[in-house]
Symmetry: C2
């Protein structure tokens, strides 16, 4: 029986072994003292807890480049997701196969949701259409929404929304890149108030009018 110790797993994941054991303990006592964790059993238990063993039908609304990329993304199936339908508002796209699946028109959205028992929807429409699509999804019974459109969606209580901003990660990289570049000048992250204030350009310095949203 192949096993792993919390120590091995912790080293591999780069975390503290005690924390890992405590985390596992929330799922139950699946380890054997003096031996470790049965790999296969542990994988199954974690998979079950995370919902990987269930089948989650999802719909993708908005089949532009991003929607098509998502439809083709291989990582979904292996994590228990099944793309039940691709939906787009453009009548010209209806019937066009994307990732081996015909695109359906927005008119049929409610029926598709209902027929497939979909509770998770992915929105990859332009920003302008997102809120309206969101409302139709929710009205049709969707209770979790993954939003790729650059808008904050407003939803009733009980509906989960997660917003994915593709530029945020890039932003973080740029932030660290800036740190790397400016490290030789001021060592610490905390900039002394006086020094920082002195970096201000004149009252008429080139100041951007609006913070990018």
């Amino acid at each position: 029986m192949p096993t792993v110790s919390s120590e091995e797993l912790a080293a591999a994941a780069g975390v503290n072994s005690a924390k890992l054991r405590k985390d596992f303990s929330y799922l139950g006592s699946y380890g054997t003292r003096g031996v470790g964790y049965d790999v296969e059993y542990l994988v199954y238990q974690i998979s079950r807890e995370l919902g990987l063993t269930q089948d989650w039908p999802v719909v993708i609304v908005g089949i532009g480049n991003l929607g098509a990329a998502l439809a083709n993304y291989g990582g979904f199936a292996s994590r228990g997701f099944r793309v039940a339908a691709l939906i787009d508002a453009d009548p010209a796209m209806a019937g066009t196969p994307v990732a081996g699946m015909p695109v359906q028109h927005t008119d049929d959205l409610e029926k598709i949701i209902s027929d497939n028992g979909v509770s998770i929807g992915v929105i990859s429409t332009p920003a302008g259409a997102a809120q309206q699509v969101c409302e139709r999804l929710v009205a049709a019974g969707v209770t979790s929404i993954l939003n790729f459109a650059p808008t904050v969606l407003s939803v009733p209580d009980g509906v989960d929304v997660r917003k994915v901003d593709l530029s945020i990660e890039l932003q973080i990289l740029a932030f660290h890149e800036q740190r790397k570049a400016g490290e030789e000048a001021s060592d610490d992250g905390v900039v002394p108030p006086v020094a920082a204030k002195q970096q201000r350009k004149g009252p008429d310095g080139d100041v951007p009018a609006v913070m990018p949203a």
Copy 2:
């Protein structure tokens, strides 16, 4: 002079006003007691600290659906990013305009990086090509990489990599969806400390350390 108080900002952002003030204080003393923060000045200071005022040329390697979606993504320009080049290994794509910009061939990767002073690269190739592309980018001088390919890249010290897995957010939604469903049925199990913050994501998201692939 238009101003905002920490109280107003905190209410809008849904956070504690003291925390917000303390956070701002790390950037310097930009507020005026009894008045608040000068909006324009504050925006500029935050923008500068985050690197939004700099121009970051980036290259996107792998112009499939995802690469095209990224090239068309409007959020980049407003955050200080400039797509310097689109690169693909397919000779048939060379010259094809995507997002108003001709796709260039991988052969010219090094020259493109060098000529444009690019230090940030985006990889949206298939998994099999990612590591090789990564190595060429690094050799050419790139020190930050945003990886959309479903592979873990190995890089030398001093190079930052951030991996974006489009299915992770979906995974999190499914996890909570499962919770919703199982909540009314059995409430006896121990509930692990998982906090779901709507439309907000930590640096690494609230994803468990260990997860089966």
